[in-house]
């Protein structure tokens, strides 16, 4: 990506936008088109994402990690503009470190606190930003509130609303959640051009964070028609 980026300003001034020598995607913003998901189970949460980052029709990164740690047991799933979501995540990570570092608390920050920090940035700058973020984690015993047991997001999420409505039920255990997330992401990646690559999963619980990757040939297969 570094080489074309260095060439663009020079060529951009000399050549018209219709010129074939400079492909269209060099002028596009980098976007994580995406399918992202988070499912809660008793004791933790499973999050998952695809791994495709696009600039127009070009896949800039086919092994992207869209599951970004914000704190020890809090993650965010990023969709939208890659630059915007990375910048917001950095800001929230900084604030949470200040929160638990400077203001010495006995307990780790609540997931809801992280979500509120995201909301503060996303709402205030909503005209300038393109970002859809899922915040998930395991945070604190004293305050338990089911904000949303399941959430999906990103451009690929529209294709799996029906699948999620019919297949999710409350009371799933960790392995069932992992299977459901992997299946849903595979289905979305099959249909959405902006989602693809590998499936990245993470399980966040009191014990810690466990990450895994499901490669393309190991993804669940469905009847192709």
């Amino acid at each position: 990506m570094a080489a074309p980026a260095a060439m663009i300003p020079y060529f951009g001034q000399q050549m018209s936008s219709k010129n074939d020598l400079v492909p269209d995607w060099t002028r596009q913003e980098v976007s994580t088109g995406t399918t992202i998901m988070a499912v809660e189970y008793d004791g933790g949460v499973v999050i998952g994402a695809d791994s495709r980052t696009t600039t127009g029709a070009y896949i800039a990164n086919r092994v992207t990690d869209k599951l970004t740690p914000i704190h020890d047991r809090i993650f965010c799933c990023r969709s939208g503009s890659a630059a915007d979501t990375q910048a917001i995540a950095d800001v929230v990570t900084y604030h949470l470190n200040v929160h638990s570092g400077v203001i010495e608390l006995d307990e780790p920050p609540l997931v809801e606190t992280a979500a509120n920090l995201f909301r503060a940035s996303c709402y205030r700058y909503r005209e300038e930003l393109t970002a859809g973020i899922l915040v998930a984690g395991w945070g604190g015993v004293s305050f338990k509130k089911i904000l949303n047991p399941v959430a999906v997001g990103g451009s690929g999420s529209t294709y799996i609303y029906g699948f999620m409505d019919s297949n999710y039920k409350p009371g799933l255990n960790k392995d069932q959640c992992l299977e459901l997330t992997a299946a849903a992401l595979s289905l979305a990646m099959e249909r959405d051009g902006s989602s693809g690559g590998v499936v990245r999963l993470a399980t966040i619980s009191e014990e810690g964070v466990e990450r895994r990757v499901i490669l393309g040939n190991q993804l669940p297969k469905f009847s192709s028609h």
């Binding site: 294709y159 999620m164 409505d165």
Partner: protein, 168 residues
Amino acid sequence: MFNDIVPNPNMTYNRFKSLLLNTKNLTRPFLIHPSVQMENPPLVIAAASVLKELCYKNKEELQAGFITAGWDRKNGPQVYVVSLGGMLISQPVTIGGSGSTYIYGYVDAKYKPNMSREECLQFATNALALAMGRDNVSGGVAHLVVITEKGVEHVVVPGDKLPKFHDE
């Protein structure tokens, strides 16, 4: 209640998902005429091709897509899709319309070839119910049409009899 499943002579049904309200009446003359002259009822692909010609030749003016499904003696049960630009392809299962985006995942996961009639009806009802639950411009009742060698059966599932899923 606007019923957008329209019969053509002899067991070919067209499902319309279009903005142009006149398309419903255009295919009948094309298909009734040949079957007056020939002994056999028209082939499903013939009906689909008529629609394809309309869509392809008038692609600048029209915004229309069709699903044509039926039974004929030569090839048995068939499903054809004519997309917006006028491409005609045959598929074992297909979905369309604004609500279809929400059920691509469900249909890909749940469809298997060689289902029985009851399995197919349940699959279609479930898929429609899920889409109607998510799409704001889809809803009301579900109209299902079962087309076989023996004939055509129209099944109507009112909204309160549709399967309920776990959604907020």
